[in-house]
Symmetry: C2
Subunit: 347 residues, 2 copies
């Protein structure tokens, strides 16, 4: 069925919202429209960024456009979301940020008060991370041709010398799987802020840069880190599926170990959505050598942005390419890629 569905998606003659979801339609779009044209050794990895060798250092390069609606939400705005998202993509490449770019697409009539709030949040996120925007661009489109403001942030990082074991191909059977904090806060906060669900709950976006705890891990236990990716669009389920597929191991997670805030679970239950598919914007999924798990956990717990981390599962030899969840009732179920798009425009 999934295959038939994918083929039917590719036959559609118009772009549909699920193409932007991070799930199956996105994968089909990349595989049928983008990779056949642009395939190359560095792009084909489809990581959070690309690794580039210059004569001396190894560089990481990443790009993301942000189209979240609303522009300002509990816990952040499209501005710090963009900066933190790009910083986290560099961190997922094992890189320390060198410089960021900022490209604004502004809609005619956008309120300067809103824009200044967005720019202030960019500035605060940059200051917190000690990173600079070194190049930029501003375009304005007519009223009705955007949704207030879209932002592209691209980033360059210097890859850590300890990162040589980092990459989905280095995931081994037995690896422990860590998530650095409760999942789904960001997607839930955005849904609630749109305000058309008839639900009220106190949930804030988790947007935050993870450069500090991940930098400390790289310094001290970098060779024990096997893969990192941030669970944004498509959530934890999507990242785990991508990892299982690229590494050809099986993945098992324990439902009871996956950290989800009560409020997020309550909203997800009301809406009939599995929190595993809800986006986070300040979390990282890390596959680690189990011999160092204890030390890695200690470091993560010592930073506020990752103190609520959890070890949620393992890479296993069985069912390579598939993700299984051990449920609280003692059963197992397959966690598949997302089909459709329950939460558009969350990043």
């Amino acid at each position: 069925m999934p295959l038939a569905k994918q083929i039917s998606d590719t036959k559609k003659k118009f772009i549909t919202m699920p193409v932007g979801s991070g799930g199956k339609a996105t994968k089909t779009f990349i595989n049928t429209l983008l990779l056949p044209r642009f395939a190359n050794a560095r792009l084909n990895v489809l990581g959070d960024g690309a690794l580039l060798d210059t004569s001396g250092d190894r560089l990481a390069f990443t790009t993301d456009s942000f189209v979240v609606s609303p522009l300002i939400f509990p816990g952040g705005s499209i501005g710090d979301l963009a900066v933190n998202g790009t910083l986290n993509d560099l961190a997922a490449c094992g890189a320390k940020p060198l410089a960021l770019s900022l490209s604004l697409i502004l809609e005619e009539g956008l309120s300067l008060v809103v824009l200044e709030e967005v720019l202030d949040s960019i500035q605060a996120a940059l200051n917190k991370a000690g990173v600079e925007i070194v190049t930029g661009d501003t375009k304005v489109v007519e009223k009705g041709k955007a949704d207030g403001c879209y932002i592209n942030t691209s980033g360059i990082g210097i890859v850590h010398q300890n990162s040589r074991n980092l990459g989905p191909k280095n995931i081994s059977v037995g690896d422990d799987i860590i998530v650095t904090g409760p999942i789904g806060d960001h997607g839930t906060a955005i849904m609630l802020e749109r305000g058309n669900l008839g639900i009220e709950a106190d949930v804030k976006s988790d947007t935050v840069a993870l450069a500090e705890p991940l930098g400390a891990l790289m310094d001290q236990y970098g060779l024990s880190l096997h893969a990192m990716r941030d669970p944004t669009r498509g959530g934890l389920a999507t990242v785990l599926n991508e990892m299982a597929e690229s590494s050809n191991v099986g993945i098992e997670i324990d439902e009871s170990q996956v950290p989800v805030r009560d409020e997020v679970r309550a909203v997800a239950d009301l809406l009939g959505i599995d929190p595993l598919y809800i986006a986070s914007e300040g979390r990282m999924v890390i596959f680690v050598n189990p011999e160092e798990t204890e030390n890695i956990v200690k470091i993560l717990k010592s930073y506020p942005e990752s103190e609520n981390m959890a070890v949620i599962g393992k890479a296993v030899a069985e069912h390579p390419g598939f993700v299984l969840q051990n449920t609280s009732f003692g059963g197992q179920r397959i966690i598949d890629l997302l089909t459709g798009d329950p939460l558009p425009r969350i990043c």
Copy 2:
């Protein structure tokens, strides 16, 4: 008057189209909203890209979002426009491209036929330049929240060792000013393609990457190149004003030497627009040591993308910061920055 106008612009509470024009309102926007927040040594240069030192090589980093309407036009599409524009920004930094990123913002309902044509033109431009996209991102926004497709391309380049005299600060009195081909083709082609002017003329966009001729210049006469910038939004007049201001020299150009195609001049005359303000997307303005002008001209004329180049003027000691044009009638007039936005959404 210009100052009063700028101040009144900054007091407007909503983003207006001229903020995206490349002229005075853009400058005010950058100076009042962006630089006060993001100022740093590498950004403040406000070049086509930023220069970054790593331990070994010197890197150039640039970003541009493209929002041109229509997406496909005589001579190109938003796709090759984006690739060529970013390659030319790297060239303006004296850099050879290392890698590009591609970030798509697609509107729900965009025709796949149109998207594939755009992607094909990206692929063709990449192949021609021998450069790869190494990282990317795709977002989809609901119908009515974009205009088919917006594209961000960011780029990293390795700065040429001969580029140490390159930068507006190195412009000297006596420098010759070169433009690599006829100006205004791109902006004119876009205006005509929109089709609401009641004018028909055969004008194609000049979009092209200048990496080959400029790379050859760098190799052979790099130390004689003092500044380069591509005259996109705001046209040649805007670039010359930026150069005069950053270098604090005066600039004089000869109206009769500035290459403008007959068709472009005719359309501009009909619309009452000065071709000096119309965007090009495959041209470069170069300030060179006059001792090497003859050799530089020879090289440029040997490449098809710059064979119609011209020496259009000189940097002078008089009227520092101002651009004067010697007219065909023997007079002089000041060429000022653009006010307002005669041609929105041309790149």
